[in-house]
Structures are given as structure tokens and as C-alpha cells.
């Protein structure tokens, strides 16, 4: 076969191979698009899209001597508020005592609260900050965009499992699935650097968080939070956090590091510990 004939023959083979492969490509695209379009916002069992503000009502706990600082309202297995100290393990007690939260004798500048160092707040503490959070549905993911610290959470709802053997992170690895109109979010892979509340309540990197997110009515949403951290707590902890829809709000910029010199001077001037 002459070289030109060879060339034309090869081109013909490539052409037919290309034509034959088109349906396969189309089929692949079709299955991909069917996979994704089945997960768009308006086809999920519920749509939490919008800007939400955390309620300061009954799901925001007050400081007590045993359990200081603004925090969650921890519930016992019967759903009643837990009284007394949190059920810490010996490891948890040690961490709790070592942490230096703000309090009557210590201001932010002398605290080792990771929040005051502008680190991400972690799960579930991010829900304690009285700033709005926007939920965005995208194919295969639900995104939580927190105004406070501009923290994001990606909740994968495409059926994948947890990342295996991953380095722990501040906000963890979250996967979700639907149970009726409730979004169930399973989070692992959290580091042990964040706290559960303003009072220095610790957790370990064994923390496993399961959240059940559902709408109470059009304007309100409840996030039911179950924590299992056998390294830090002798029993699972349960709490709830309510959010109120803010249809007219947009998220605003909040940069934790955006601190003026005057603010630093103010912190120094007003400190209690020397």
C-alpha cells in the first residue's frame, strides 16, 4: 500500500471509530447528566436554600458554673436539658482544665480560644455564632456558607463514602443522605483543635457528628445534632439548634483578621489578667 493510500485508510478507520464512539460518548454524558440532574435543588426531597439566622431562643444555652460560656443546650437521652457537668472522660477532663476560655477573670486577649485566633470554629461550634448561614443546593452537594469567618462546609450527597485515612481537618468530612424530607449529615475527620462551646468544652479527633436537618415550617429549620466522642465523653451528647429564615438578607463579608490597631489597643487596655 502506498503511503498516501495508507494515510487515507488510517483516516477512514479513525473516522469510523470516531462515529462509532459518538453514541458511547453521548451515552456517558447522558448517564452523567441523569445522575446530576436527579440531584438538583428542586428535585431533592426538601430545599433548604436561603439565608438562615441562628435562633437565640431555647436552643442557645447560658453559662453555668459547671458548664461555662455560651453553648448548646445539651440534652439527656429523654430530651431534657442535662444538669451539672458534662460527662467527660479522664482525657476530656484534662483537656477541659487545660483550656483557657474567656470568663470573669480572663478576656479574649489572654484566652487560648481557637476562635479568637481566627481559626475555623469546627463542627458543631460554628452553629453557636450569631451570624447568618446560607444553604446552597448544587448537584451532588449541599453547601453551608457561614458568614462568620467565611467558613464553608461541603456536604456530599452523591452517595460517596467518607474519605479514608485523611488528615483531620477543622470542619471535617461530611456526607449526607435523605430520609424523607430530612437531610442526614454524617461528619468525621475532625481535628481536636476546636471547642464545643465558649467555655473550653473539648472534643477529640474521634468526634463523630450526625446532624438531622429538617424544616419546622417555612420560616424555621431545626438541626438535631448527635455527638459521639468516646475519647472525650462517656456518653453521646445530643443537642438541637434552630434557625430562622431571612429571605431579605445576603451574606456579608466578615474577615476575622480584619482587626484595627485601635481594637488591639482596646483589648490590651481592658484585659484583666496580667
Amino acid at each position: 500500500m502506498k503511503s498516501r493510500t495508507k494515510f487515507l485508510f488510517c483516516m477512514g478507520v479513525f473516522f469510523f471509530a470516531g462515529v462509532l464512539s459518538v453514541p458511547a460518548v453521548l451515552h456517558a454524558q447522558d448517564s452523567q447528566s441523569r445522575k446530576t440532574t436527579g440531584l438538583v435543588s428542586n428535585q431533592t426531597p426538601a430545599d433548604f436554600s436561603g439565608v438562615w439566622y441562628p435562633s437565640t431562643g431555647s436552643t442557645l444555652g447560658a453559662s453555668t458554673p459547671d458548664n461555662p460560656g455560651q453553648q448548646f443546650v445539651w440534652l439527656d437521652p429523654e430530651g431534657k436539658p442535662l444538669k451539672g457537668p458534662l460527662p467527660l472522660t479522664a482525657w476530656g477532663q484534662e483537656r477541659f482544665k487545660a483550656n483557657r476560655p474567656t470568663g470573669p477573670a480572663r478576656t479574649a486577649i489572654d484566652s487560648d480560644d481557637p476562635d479568637f485566633q481566627c481559626f475555623p470554629s469546627g463542627v458543631p461550634r460554628i452553629y453557636l455564632f450569631l451570624y447568618p448561614m446560607e444553604i446552597v443546593h448544587t448537584p451532588g452537594r449541599v453547601l453551608m456558607l457561614f458568614e462568620y469567618g467565611h467558613t464553608i462546609r461541603q456536604i456530599f450527597t452523591d452517595g460517596r463514602g467518607h474519605v479514608q485515612d485523611a488528615e483531620p481537618t477543622w470542619m471535617g468530612d461530611s456526607i449526607g443522605h435523605w430520609e424523607g424530607d430530612t437531610l442526614v449529615v454524617d461528619t468525621t475527620g475532625l481535628n481536636d483543635k476546636t471547642w464545643l462551646g465558649y467555655g473550653g468544652q473539648p472534643h477529640s479527633d474521634a468526634l463523630h457528628v450526625i446532624e438531622r436537618i429538617h424544616r419546622i415550617d417555612h420560616d424555621s429549620m431545626m438541626i438535631d445534632i448527635m455527638l459521639d466522642d468516646p475519647k472525650a465523653y462517656t456518653m453521646p451528647l445530643h443537642t438541637q439548634k434552630k434557625y430562622v429564615l431571612k429571605p431579605d438578607w445576603n451574606l456579608m463579608e466578615f474577615v476575622c483578621e480584619d482587626n484595627s490597631l485601635n481594637f488591639l489597643e482596646f483589648e490590651k487596655k481592658t484585659r484583666i489578667q496580667k
Binding site: Y53, N259, N262, F263, F266, K269
Partner: protein, 132 residues
């Protein structure tokens, strides 16, 4: 109307039992059992995160000037209640009401700010329906 320094020092009732205005944290520790109201001249409104600051000058009866600082909520929360960076301008005559810091410094929380001519500034609290 001339105010002494401090104009009033009284036990807190409503302000104390309401939700703390610094619901996440303030930079300082405030004595929530005391409320003071100070009249002064605005030097600057620092409208920056994490918390806005009012820098203002207070003169006593003898004309002695003292620099005070009042810590407010974050600009984000203030803006949603109608504040802006120009709500207070240098030279404005204001009366700031709030809790003094515990360590005795010339610093306080700003819970309410009014102008001496009677005009009021927007409420600085959390969104009104947030306790639902």
C-alpha cells in the same frame, strides 16, 4: 445640658437581664451590674470587624478631657439594624450608655447611643425576631 463624669451609675435592670449584646464575645469583660451614661464628642467610629469601636472624648466639670472607648457589636450586625460607618461622625455630640469594663479602664460597652440634640441611632441589638 452638662453631664458629670459619670452622669449616672446605677444598678442594671432591663439591660442586665436581656440577652448580652456581645452574644459571641467582646474584647473586654464588662461589669454587667453597672450601667453608665457618658456625654462626649466623637473622635472616630471604627467600623471594622470583629467589633466596631466609638472613640470619644469626655470632659468633666473642670474641662478636663478624657479619652473613652465604647465597644459595639460587629459592623455586620449593626448594618442589618440600620447603622453605617457614617452614623457617627467626628465632632458629633453623643451620649453613650453601657456597662463599664471591670478593670477600671476608660472603656465601656455601647448598648445605646443618642445624640445630644435628641436624635437616636438605630437599635444595636440582635435581629428582633431572632429569639423565636
Amino acid at each position: 445640658m452638662k453631664f458629670n463624669l459619670p452622669v449616672c451609675f446605677f444598678a442594671v435592670t432591663a439591660l442586665c437581664v436581656s440577652l448580652p449584646i456581645f452574644a459571641h464575645h467582646g474584647a473586654a469583660e464588662y461589669d454587667n451590674t453597672k450601667t453608665i451614661s457618658l456625654q462626649g464628642t466623637v473622635a472616630a467610629l471604627q467600623y471594622l470587624n470583629p467589633h466596631a469601636l466609638i472613640l470619644f472624648t469626655v470632659k468633666d466639670d473642670k474641662g478636663q478631657a478624657t479619652e473613652w472607648t465604647a465597644e459595639l457589636q460587629s459592623p455586620n450586625l449593626l448594618s442589618r439594624r440600620g447603622w453605617s460607618r457614617s452614623t457617627l461622625k467626628p465632632g458629633d455630640q453623643i451620649i453613650v450608655t453601657g456597662h463599664p469594663v471591670k478593670n477600671g479602664a476608660k472603656a465601656m460597652s455601647g448598648q445605646k447611643v443618642v445624640f445630644t440634640d435628641g436624635r437616636e441611632t438605630p437599635n444595636m441589638g440582635l435581629p428582633p425576631d431572632s429569639a423565636k
